[in-house]
């Protein structure tokens, strides 16, 4: 449908206002909410994500596309319940204790939302216990940890241990990332998955829930 293709392309171009208007128009034309979400907003975000992963676009373009997605979401969200649209799952995300870098974490959040997840953002400098508590409180299936400093990477291990200590380690999948983090490190601390970029992170999250 043309209007859905337009929503997707305007979103990719970061035109927040136009996306917002088009989503409203689509609703007015009785286009199903699920289609607007999946073939419009999520489609656009998915394409931006793939381009970002391939280095065709960079952080600024993703940020403005995400802003456009959020504007569209604001219009669409009130109709989710009545049309039976549900989130793919709940994720909580935060930058680990001692670390205040949040741009990478925010991108991961946006890409996860772009795959239809509901994301609880715990912010930066998040103590291990706060992850455990939030995961239990919100019923999160996936916990995402971000660290940009080699000196705060050990705090990721502490989060894994905190889940073990609380006896809830088997209820969540723990994902780790951030520039200095590697697959090897992920295995070392007993986390479940690592991804090098935000788009791959969202794909991995889907895979984790599927399998």
């Amino acid at each position: 449908m043309q209007i859905l293709a337009d929503i997707s392309s305007k979103l990719q171009a970061g035109k927040a206002k136009e996306v917002q208007e088009l989503v409203q128009q689509a609703l007015d034309q009785q286009v199903p909410v699920r289609d607007i979400l999946e073939q419009g907003l999520l489609d656009g975000m998915g394409i931006i994500g793939a381009k970002f992963k391939n280095d065709e676009v960079f952080v600024p373009e993703v940020l403005i596309a995400a802003r456009a997605m959020n504007r569209g979401m604001e219009v669409l969200k009130p109709y989710f319940a009545e049309s039976g649209v549900e989130a793919r799952g709940r994720v909580c995300i935060g930058t680990v204790q001692g670390d205040l870098h949040d741009i990478g974490k925010n991108l991961v959040k946006m890409m996860m939302e772009g795959k239809g997840f509901e994301v609880i953002d715990l912010g930066t400098d998040v103590p291990a216990e706060a992850f455990v508590k939030a995961a239990a409180e919100h019923g999160c299936a996936i916990v995402c940890l971000s660290a940009l400093l080699t000196t705060t990477m050990p705090a990721m291990r502490q989060v894994v241990e905190a889940f073990e200590a609380a006896g809830t380690r088997d209820q969540v999948k723990i994902m780790v990332g951030g520039a200095p983090v590697t697959d090897e490190f992920c295995a070392q601390i007993g986390a479940d998955a690592y991804a090098a970029d935000a788009a791959s992170a969202a794909d991995k999250a889907l895979a984790l829930l599927g399998g």
Partner: protein, 485 residues
Amino acid sequence: MPELRVHQAGAVRVLPFEGQPLLTQLLRQAGYEISTPCGSAGVCGRCGLRVAGQLDPPAREGRALACRTRLMGDAQVWLADPHQLDKIALADSLPLTDLKPLPGEFGLAVDIGTTTLAAMLVDLPSGRPLAAVGLTNPQASLSDNVIGRISAALEGEGPRLRALVREALTGLTRQLCEQAGIERPLHLPTVIAGNTAMLYLYMGYSPRALSAAPFEADHLFGVWVEEHTFLPRCPGAFLGADLNLALLASGLCEREETALLADIGTNGEIALWHRGRLHCAAAAAGPAFEGGGITQGLGSERGAIDSVQAVDGQLRITTIGDAPARGICGSGLVDAAATLLDLTLMDETGRLSQDKVALAPGVMLWQKDIRQLQLAKGAIAAAIGALCQTAGVRTRDIHRFYLAGGFGSYLRPQSAARIGLIPEELLEKTVALGNAALSGAAMLLLNQDCLDASTRLARQAQVLTLSGNPQFSQLFAERMMFEPF
């Protein structure tokens, strides 16, 4: 026992080893410096070496990443020529208004840079510089970046780091005295500049406070330590005594006019002087300006492409030492980006028209290298913007723009403005200061009033925290674009 044969400067050294050590481990134990800016994550490629023999993973096209490659049996490695003592250009005079030297005959000014140690011997009564030398900071054998050294200190290497820098300083002092033709004086007043972490490590203090949020230093110095060594005060945890002394040497805070000073490097330090107030911010840029994280990045070494220009639509490069191009250093990278923009081989979002560009035979610039440059230059440009906003200063109100530090001297301001690293409006107002921290340290030796002045300067500095600062984040996203601002 299996052996590693190390070829360097025409000589071969044999290192027997046990087990299956990483190349970096064995080489560093033997005292070689191997640079691993990405923290041995195997991503930056800086530790790539020419190798042969039994290695895991096996060499690819005769090369391997030292940080990721284990020795499985006899092998060989070829290293670049060792760093030599650099002759440092000696200023004829120092920026001094009054001569009020510390008591004594000679004085020693030192700058402990993360990469380079620089020292100068001055004749105290006359204020004349006698000799100056530089040397690679030997702490680089443990890690070449500040955070890596902080981690090493926290893992028990503090005493070794302290000893390494002190031994090197003893050596430099001997060298300086020889050059000046004097006996090493018993009494040698010394001023040591450096970033906050370097001063911690010099003293052997635990740098735990510098390793995680809230990054509040528990020592800021501004004190005499030992018999006659003064460590100038640091404005903050990532705003060092070197910044303080560069400010002092520039004389910027003695004038009425609004001025900006930037030390662009892995850790960018920016200061803005406006209406009698000093605002400072530390902007982590990452190692791109030193060639780190760039596929074929190099420090300022022979064979590094250090300038790129377009002549008749063609790329024209120069290299350090006019040697065949082997890679690219920071100033070359900034130039390359500006030139690619001019030739429309890259757009303002940083997208290359092909996935890589050949700068010289065998030297490529990749899309991902451009992305690293965008992060680095975005952080510096955003910090400048955030400081100006905080102080309520418009760029055009800035009278002078000082570039401190080594990189600032090599950088071509036109290219820097073209890619949006420094404000375009300040192009004509740019002054390169070189190693101003060292001249600043000498000033403290030669004018006792400067000792207090430096402490006052650091104390009055208002540090703008960029972490969690929404203005900074907004500007950072905008200024990652290659657009003049």
